[in-house]
Symmetry: C2
Subunit: 294 residues, 2 copies
């Protein structure tokens, strides 16, 4: 199987579904929602929803609304993260950020709207009411104050306050930030796909463990790319250092960072051996987490 | 029945449930969530959830999580609405606003967290999975880009751009803003309570119509209070005029505003005659919308 063509095939389906789901009423908020949702992006999280459903015997068309939902939630987090009061980024994927295009208040409301809409989308999946309720719980948990928002908060609010803390404390903090900021939503994506497809507990757990580990590998790779990647390919300037953020590199250096990312990739692969031959695509994705160039 | 004691009795139950539902992990976001949720407020929307459920034969303890959910959603909208990029208010209910207390980025994330959590709370109601799914749809619709956010957007983004528009256009705009900004969430509250209690379509429709009309009356009264109320009682300075907002008063003057508000109150009462003797409390609440002093 070729991962590139797999991603490209799935992201085409997802892009079509996202386009169809977006509002077309011409209001500023609708325009801002369309702009940020259609500004590119690899659609990894929605691909994970579809993949998890397929691995658990579900049909991708049944979970497509939920796949869109996680992308809406992910995109809202980027729109708010880019705000002047947060990371203050002007570019995202090589294009002006939402607040640069539509102003700060429209960007705040656009993020709010994307987040709210993500929960409506979840309910449009074709699954039992019980499983849809469970998917709503998963999205709100991993997207909420115990999940992604906790990571954003530590990452943004605590930036620059790390100077006088001891190393053990900071390492724990960094793990927490990576878990919540990045791994949480990847975990949510796999779990939502699996749960909507009616997977048993064992499969959900295996995919959750896999997702956690590729999420951690992904974030370490992201910290490396923030410093070493071709900024044109990356579509943004690396801003972690300017923002005094805690990064994997600043602690461990590039060599150890790469080694640790590989270890997480291996852990991820081990977690999903139960899927047998079907796990091939999961292995390719795990490898991709550390191999990507932007 | 005495409305004041009815409100006080119900809001005590709601406050206890809200306190129990709030995070206690000591993080900045959790502190900000607690602060904004416990900063007072009449708890009207959660009271409406409980009331609708009771009117439709449900038990209030079964819908209490949903009642908390609408208050979370309402509170997030206030936190974001007060932000410097939005209405830039320093005081809310006589206390410093969230961004004044915790900083702008924490206030953004706090609002995001409250909004996300509201959907988790909905799922904790004791009702059929089907009705919970329906309640999630209602909350996301009325809270989303077609509901409350549309009202906020018009109200904030378009403020000051009304000068060269004709009166008929502006009157339509004002109705839209009042419907979306205020009536939408009151409609959601009544509908969620009714749906979770398993009400039939006719009852849901009647309560929706009632809610729409008290919502419109409420917002006209709000515009009047923004200018005429005792600012100490109101707990904030009237800021509509400073912000060049479209208000009922600026169009129609105080006398007609009061007359129209009363007409909406009457419409609301007419809509719920089917509840017979049980509608007494609904009538008292409708009257309260225009009688309140702050």
């Amino acid at each position: 199987m070729n991962l590139e063509s797999y991603f490209s095939q799935k992201s085409k389906l997802i892009n079509a579904a996202i386009k169809k789901s977006l509002p077309k009423d011409g209001s500023i908020i609708s325009k801002a929602m369309r702009y940020s949702m259609l500004a590119g992006g690899k659609r990894l999280r929605p691909i994970f929803v579809l993949l998890a459903a397929e691995l658990c015997g579900g049909k991708i068309e049944n979970v497509m609304p939920a796949a869109c939902a996680v992308e809406y939630l992910h995109t809202y987090s980027l729109v708010h993260d880019d705000l002047p009061a947060m990371d203050n980024d002007d570019l995202r994927r090589g294009k002006p950020t939402s607040h640069k295009m539509f102003g700060e208040s429209a960007a705040i409301l656009c993020g709010d709207a994307l987040l709210t809409e993500s929960f409506d989308l979840i309910t449009k999946s074709k699954a039992s009411d019980k499983n849809i309720k469970e998917a709503v719980k998963i999205l709100s948990y991993y997207g909420g104050y115990q999940g992604m928002i906790a990571g954003q908060a530590e990452d943004t609010l605590e930036a620059g306050k790390w100077k006088n803390k001891n190393k053990a404390f900071l390492k724990k903090k960094l793990y927490f930030i990576h878990m919540q900021k990045t791994a949480a939503l990847i975990m949510a994506s796999f779990k939502i796909g699996a749960v909507l497809a009616g997977a048993d507990r064992k499969k959900v757990k295996a995919l959750e463990e896999y997702a956690k580990n590729i999420g951690l590998a992904f974030q370490i790779a992201d910290d490396i790319l923030d410093v070493y990647a071709d900024k044109k390919l990356l579509g943004k300037k690396g801003s972690d250092k300017d923002n005094n953020k805690l990064t994997y590199l600043s602690f461990y250096g590039k060599e150890k960072a790469e080694k640790d990312a590989s270890a997480y990739v291996q852990k991820a692969k081990n977690a999903v051996k139960m899927f047998g031959k079907k796990s091939e695509i999961l292995n390719l994705i795990a490898d991709y987490m550390t191999a990507r160039k932007y």
